[in-house]
């Protein structure tokens, strides 16, 4: 039950409502194409959805075409997860064109200035992990960046050195599921973060399991493999390495503002009551119209160039015959 006590001094003698259904003139399904291509990655994913008046639909099977510079184009089909995957190398200066159906977008990226990350470190105290990064201000750019924690995981079987796992995972670095956020938009860097200085310090603290270590039991399932006879087997023993890196990617303004919309909690602007008041008052806040650069469709495609700095490394030996293998702790890089 929600009780709201608000006392505007308007006399509510009676009220009347009326509903208006706008006619769009276009009731067809539009392709919604979103992609955040990063020069530090080789695997890129492009999100494709269908946009109707009242719902968003799956576009599994739709064909997406990627053109990078003058190289021959690639095509891929949208999978059940809503993404089409491409394995390509992209540089910041490349002209990239993505298209699907009637929708297409042509973009290129912003170069991340060299040495933009002055320092990055990781420390662990008990259950509390701290990641720090110092970002240098560039006088010639908007200084719009996103910081992300990237883990590069490798698992190699000890006897024959077969690669069992080679995965890169990007974490948003805002640790939104954890309390005690010091800076609500901590993984977004903008002019506010610098103030009058030439650099800004980003510090993230939290009780984070994934930075503490990997429980062997919970991770063992990730190395299950299926042989040709569809039998499940596990490797005997292997060495697993996780490299933790801080990645900084340069954003253009559209990219930055889309992220701001997603992570800005209006409650950060003084509590949900402001929003509650705004939603009650005559003429609400102007709804957001998200930036888009997809012609013939909806969505935002961008290319980000990135730099990565490793901050910690975790190494663990796994033995299928020894379930009591203690958890290892990520070690700061020397």
């Amino acid at each position: 039950m929600k009780t709201v006590h608000i006392i505007p001094l308007i006399i509510f003698l009676a009220s009347c409502t009326h509903d208006y259904f706008p006619t769009t003139g276009n009731e067809n399904t539009l392709i919604c194409m979103n992609a955040r291509l990063n020069t530090a990655d080789t695997l890129h994913k492009v999100q494709i959805k269908g946009s109707d008046v009242n719902r968003t639909i799956s576009m599994t099977g739709a064909v997406v075409t990627l053109q990078v510079g003058d190289a021959p184009s690639d095509t891929a089909q949208v999978r059940s997860d809503g993404f089409a995957y491409f394995n390509r190398t992209i540089k910041a200066a490349d002209i990239v064109t993505l298209s699907s159906g009637n929708a297409s977008a042509t973009v290129s990226g912003l170069q991340v200035p060299d040495g933009v990350i002055l320092d990055a470190s990781y420390s662990l105290t008990g259950k509390k992990a701290t990641v720090k990064a110092r970002i240098r201000r560039n006088p010639d750019t908007d200084n719009l960046y996103i910081l992300q924690l990237v883990t590069h995981q490798h698992a190699i079987r000890d006897n024959d050195k077969e690669v069992l796992l080679d995965r890169m995972t990007i974490y948003p670095l805002n640790l939104e599921s954890y309390p005690l956020q010091k800076y609500p938009r901590m993984f977004l860097v903008d002019s506010d973060a610098f103030g009058d200085g030439d650099s800004c310090d980003i510090t993230i603290e939290g009780d984070t399991d994934f930075l503490r270590g990997y429980n062997t039991h919970s991770m063992s399932n990730k190395f299950l493999r299926i042989d040709d006879n569809k039998q499940v087997f596990e490797p005997e023993s292997y060495t697993r390495t996780v490299l933790f890196c801080v990645r900084i990617s340069a954003l253009n303004r559209d990219d930055y503002w889309t992220l701001r919309y997603l992570v800005d909690d209006p409650a950060y602007a003084l509590g949900p009551n402001l929003n509650g008041v705004l939603s009650m008052l005559p003429l609400e806040s102007i709804p957001r119209t998200y930036p888009g650069n997809v012609s013939g469709g909806i969505g935002l495609v961008s290319v980000r160039s990135a730099l990565e700095i490793p901050i910690a490394k975790w190494v663990c030996n796994y033995d299928i015959n020894n379930y009591d293998n203690p958890d290892a702790t990520p070690l700061p890089l020397q």
Binding site: F187, S191, N273, S279
Partner: protein, 804 residues
Amino acid sequence: MRRTITVLLSLAICIQMNAQSTLKEGMEMLRQQYGISYIYDSSLPILRSYDGDRLNAGTLQENLSRLFSGSGIDFIVKGRQVILKKKRTLSLEANYSLSQPELLDSSVVVDWRMPILTHPESGALGITRLTVEQAPVLLGEKDVLKTLQMLPGVQAAAEGYAGISIRGGYSDESLILLDGVPIMQADHFMGLFSIFPAESVAEATLWKGNFPARYGGRASGIVDLQSASGNRDKWRGGFSVGLLSDRFHADGPIGNKLSLSASGRVLHTFLAQPVTALMDKAGNYWFYDLNARLDWYLSDNDRITLSGYNGYDLLDLHENWYEYEHRYDENYAAYNIRTNKYDKSRYGWGTSTAALSWRHRDTGRTTLAFSNSRMRTYSDTRWEYDTDGVKTGKYRNCGAATSLTGIILRTDWNIGIFSYGGEYTRHYLRSDGLSSLNTETSSEGKTTSLPSTVVKPETIPANEAAIYADASIPIGSAVCINPGLRLSLFESLGSIRIHPEPRLSVKWRSGDGWEADAGYSRMVQYFHRIPSGYSSFPTDFWHPVSGNVQPLISDQISLCGRYEGLPGWELSAELYYKMQSGVVDYIDSYAPLGTSQAHWSGSVASGKGSGMGMELMVRKTSGPLTGWLGYTLSGSTRVYPEGTINNGIPFPSSTDRRHRINFCATWAVNEAVDITLAWTFASGSPITMPLRSTAIYDESRKYEDAVRYIDYAPSRNNFRLPPIHRADISVNLRKPLKRGERIWTIGLYNLYGANNPDFFRYMKTSDTIIGSDFYYPDKPEGTPFLRTVSYLLVIPTVSFSRNF
């Protein structure tokens, strides 16, 4: 002999009677005897016979009393002028737009124009306190800005609200001056009322174009308000009790050289504040206004005035709710969690001004002034969690404050046909930033707190200066050319901007009632206050231009034709075209409270705007029935070529309302009763309306699907609200008392209950939740629609006023 004496006596009597047989003749006798002149309305019954005492004994005051006793005419002596009016009309000063009547040298008989609209200067439109007091308004809160909204070319920022938009400009493009001091926050309660109740203002002058060179700093319009000066003859005052507020005013002389005027207004809810502040579950809102003015008449030619305003709004919001959920953990074990949430927020905002000015005749004025506009707010939120008996908690406190302070020095002089002057303002924009304190309480009772400064405090000084000169050059008897130039300078954050602002107007007057004006004005604006919604909120604050945000430059061409040849009527037509550069808007978002100047600069886009329109008006200016009918046809657009707003495609401005009709008529039934009827029609405002659903890539989530489903609006201001129309009526019932008068005001706002949208919200249909207020079985589930709520329906007004 007896016959001779009788004839002589009769002759003497006749001579006496003939010499004083009419009021007019008696007036002429006194004029010759005392060297005075009269100012009066031609409709006064001065030709009625005078049957009183002889008029050659006693003082001027005594003779005037004898002459007009029982005639229904009242008088006031100002120097060598005697102003006449009908008894029981409101204050003499309110009836006339003469700034210094004591300086007139000759008898003037003017057409009686009901003091509703005046033309104090060419290109300007004036309203008096009488106009404001007669206009029917919401809940009887007589309001200067809401009365101005009844004029062509002026509209409210939103239906029923006080913020004004002049010729399509945003509300921050209108300069509002109170005794020469710029008012940066002119609204109460999100714009429902302005800070200018009727008692505080003697007259208001509106410029929509052809701006004199002495005005600058805003792009689209000027509202120049003059506070009421105190009566120099006797003390008078009054109070008023309405449905919403209580008001008082008092003015009178202090000795021979001083006069004082003071007025105030406060909401009834102010009385409840001590109680509601102690209660957890009660909110409150109140505001007050205080105006005061002290005039020191050094001589007939010099006067020093000290005037000031102080007003404050306070809004307390409390929200309590609880929620009970049944959840499953990662092992699929069930647990229950109850959440209690307590939220308390306070928003306070206000304005203070003070002005000390020296006026020398009508040739010069120098003013030193101070203005401050401020906003402070905090929010306390507490969550209490009970998870199967395990108690934890969370607490968050946020606070922010901003203020804009100005110290102004200004001087204006007239010599012959030339006017010149200058002004300097030192601005201080202070933001206390945004700070928060987050506290968590674990199940063991351990508390961890984390204070943080989300946005750092900052103070930004700025300097703004201008010098100007213009001339009024007659060419023949019919034409007058007014060239002018204003040079403005703005310095802030290390950058200096200098802009010339040329002004030119040509006026033509024929001898048979025809007038025409044509003019060009450039206005430059160095501060912006972008609304985060469609109306103004106290959290929308001013920011100076800086970085890549350029000043707003507005060039306007206007043509005006007026015909006053028909006695008691005035017809006018105006055309204008406006081009603007440097208009700013938020980039598809709004800036959070307490945002820094640097961040604000990065969150807005600069673009171009344009507007054009035609304003027609017919006025009836004399007789018991007066008023006006106005029609405005206008349009305004904006475009942001760099593509950050609406992908660089032009879109209609939120102030673009194509048609507007204003009708206002006042019927003075008799001296005790007047009735005012107003009717307004306006095209709907454009708003941004989501039209479909779509997905957005959300990498902020830690899950792999990285998708968030949102409502998609293809462009800015892509949907137009339905037109609004409304009739209001107000009746003033006056009764003269032994001392002063009593006035009952009864009215109805929105007479026939037109369903104009006062709120709106975006919603989606359901075809499954039967009985819900968004159930539409014939629409697909999730179809977006706009629901408007009209609550200002047939709102009665009753207020009691007592003047003495």
